[in-house]
Amino acid sequence: MPAPATLQRLRDQLAALAPRGCVDVEDGFRLGMAPADLGVGPLARKGLHEVFAASSAQAVSANGFGLSLALRAAPPPLVWVLEDRALSEVGAPYGAGLHEWGLEPSDLVLVRVRSAQALLAAGEEALKSGAVGAVLMSGWGEGRAWSLTAGRRLALAAEAGAATALLIRSGAKPRPSAADTRWSVEAAPSAALEARAPGRPAFRAVLLRSRKGPAGGEWIMEWDREARSFVEPAAASGRVVPVSGDRQAGVRAA
């Protein structure tokens, strides 16, 4: 691992190289894990980020990844809107688990909605209110509601309310939208503790698209709740598969 000073110099270089019109670092947040941050750059704080579960069985990992992004992105409070279908498939958010994830459950407002339309409407309302730091929206499946316009509206609402929009979708294929970044996430085997106990939560996250940089990049990330940060797994280096930068968004559709 390079020394912090080297890292900072690299970051500055990267910021200088970044295309014009992209958000500057003050208005962005980092993942906290050097290899991924170098690959992705700062993520827009007042923007829309999409997290796709690599398969519908990975919905809880996508939720966990989205929640971690929300914790990185903005101070509480947090609004989490869930479609009823998503609740019945992977269970309801659980207070003790949220607390152990690094969130104060009292900072969270849960909203249950029946349909994708209601999900998008409630999410937009919460984003625009200016009262929350981030809004998570967990949707399930495909449908006409998931249009280009819907994504654009969320992005505008995030900008207007200075909040981070995190759209988490399970049972759906990634497709072009107005999102600043789009991720595909699945669970990765954890670094075992003593006696083969499962270790810290680990994700395999693939960057499918980034508005201000080349897409592509795949990392194994662990979530460190004390530091509220993504970290590299202790054993291996973060980047497991070198991926060429010219890969098209959406190719790795689940």
Partner: protein, 477 residues
């Protein structure tokens, strides 16, 4: 039979007529009572429950007279001056009171007299009944001295002096009693004998905060309804302001010409008297109604009532004292609640129990209060030990474990077989002992070959009947 702990011993605090008939009496220890009547049924005394019942009775008996007060420890006092003729005279009134008491399952002792104190003494220590006009003194003179409700040692002193009834006291000069038992003693005696009068202080419910509009011409359009509603809101908020209160519930009743009444309520997270905000909530609520308002031939009356009143502390009126962000969040919660319903906008609250599915409660955000319990401490350097998302109820799985009381080696859930590569456990969680059919649960955190993490448990012990069953209770990211 009610019992309560008194100086370390369980004593009877109240007994029903059957118990009294076999010679049990309040004040006796439970052990003595059991010795005499082994089959007695004892229930712990519940003062809070008594209080609730008494308050309910207060409201129920309010139908006989608006002047009604509590008469401690377990009585009600009604001032029925000018009410008796409505119930066929005093005897009829007493009969109706007794009927209502019987319907409520109460054993009542009733008395009707010229002054409240005479009535109380007659009901508690005498025969009860209706005292004829001008007979108070004669009737009260027959009462025992306990009707004065003296301290035990004072009553003892009077009894030693051979004074048994109030008549015995009444025949003697008052000055001597005043010297011995305090200056107010003669006055108390006079009150019971009906020679002095003291009024009761009635308990009256605060009048509701409401506004009403009877319309000369029925209205039909939404705009007209909203216009009237905004007038009503202004009126109700003014009423709240004079009481220094805010309300958390507003109920609009819409009366249609043909007699149909529709009630629509909106709730807020904090007590409010902001008419504009509540009007906006009503508009959202009206727009989101499953069955929209059907005007028919028009509405001819609208009524708005404010409920769940709470005092708004003075410092809250300074708007900038609370952060604008908190205000905005409350407003957001109110808007979402109005549109989606209170069951859809939730706060996550801890509950003090070790049962996982009960330890977390989702409560409507508009009703959420400060949490009573705390979340379990995070263990440093440990992965989360509780799942991010929980199934309620747990979902059954088929699992195979290598050792009878070990973690599963593989399990099948939703038609997919998972090979377990990592596991930690068991964490044993017992069901709460007062529940029936409880089974021990052994929880395991497991990870499958793909890296997915589950919270599984086995209900029951190995070798037990019925066979232990496996469930998945939650998912870890």
């Amino acid at each position: 039979m009610l019992v309560d702990k008194d100086k370390g011993a369980l004593r009877l605090t109240a007994a029903d007529p059957e118990a009294l008939a076999v010679g049990l009496h309040p004040g006796m220890t439970l052990a003595d009572a059991r010795a005499r009547t082994p089959q007695l049924e004892a229930v712990p005394h519940d003062p809070a429950g008594d209080e609730v019942l008494l308050r309910r009775a207060l409201i129920a008996f309010g139908r006989f007279s608006p002047m009604i007060a509590l008469c401690r420890p377990h009585g009600l006092m009604l001032d029925v001056t000018g009410c008796a003729h409505l119930f066929d005279g005093e005897a009829g009134l007493v009969r109706r009171v007794r009927e209502l008491a019987a319907q409520m399952g109460l054993q009542a002792r009733t008395a009707l007299a010229r002054t409240p104190q005479t009535a109380r003494a007659l009901a508690r220590f005498g025969p009860g009944g209706v005292v004829p006009e001008g007979e108070d003194r004669r009737v009260a003179r027959a009462l025992p001295i306990s009707a004065l409700e003296l301290k035990p040692e004072e009553a003892q002193a009077l009894r030693r002096a051979g004074l048994i009834t109030l008549g015995d006291l009444d025949d003697r000069p008052r000055a001597a009693f005043a010297a011995r038992f305090g200056r107010d003693f003669p006055h108390r005696l006079d009150l019971i004998l009906g020679q002095a009068d003291a009024r009761i202080t009635p308990v009256r419910p605060a009048p509701p905060v409401m506004a009403d509009r009877v319309l000369a011409e029925p209205i039909q359009t939404d705009e007209a309804v909203e216009a009237v509603l905004s007038d009503l809101l202004a009126e109700v908020m003014a009423g709240l302001e004079t009481r220094r209160c805010g309300a958390r519930l507003f109920v609009l009743s819409v009366f249609r010409v043909d007699g149909h009444v529709r009630r629509i309520g909106v709730g807020t997270a904090r007590p409010t008297r902001d008419a504009r905000a509540v009007l906006r909530l009503f508009k959202e609520r009206l727009a989101a109604l499953a069955h929209p308002l059907d005007p028919g031939f028009g509405f001819d009356q609208l009524r708005l009532q404010a409920g769940r009143l709470q005092t708004i502390p003075a410092e809250q009126e300074a708007f900038e004292a609370r952060s604008a962000r908190t205000e905005a969040l409350d407003a957001l919660i109110d808007r979402l609640t109005a549109r989606l319903g209170p069951e859809a906008v939730l706060k996550v609250e801890p509950v003090d129990t070790h049962l996982p599915e009960r330890a977390c409660r989702l409560t409507p955000a508009v009703q959420a209060a400060a949490a009573q319990a705390a979340w379990p401490e995070r263990e440093p350097e440990q992965p989360p030990l509780r799942p991010l998302q929980l199934f309620d109820p747990p979902q059954p799985v088929e699992a195979i474990s290598l050792a009878p009381d070990g973690p599963p080696a593989r399990f099948r859930w939703r038609r997919i077989t998972h090979q377990v590569t990592r596991a930690e456990g068991p964490e044993r969680i017992e069901d709460e002992w007062w529940r029936k059919g409880r089974r021990v649960r052994d929880y395991y955190r497991v990870e499958d070959a793909e890296g997915r993490r589950f919270w599984l448990f086995r209900a029951g012990h190995f070798g037990e009947e019925p066979e232990p069953r496996w469930y998945v209770h939650g998912l870890f990211p």
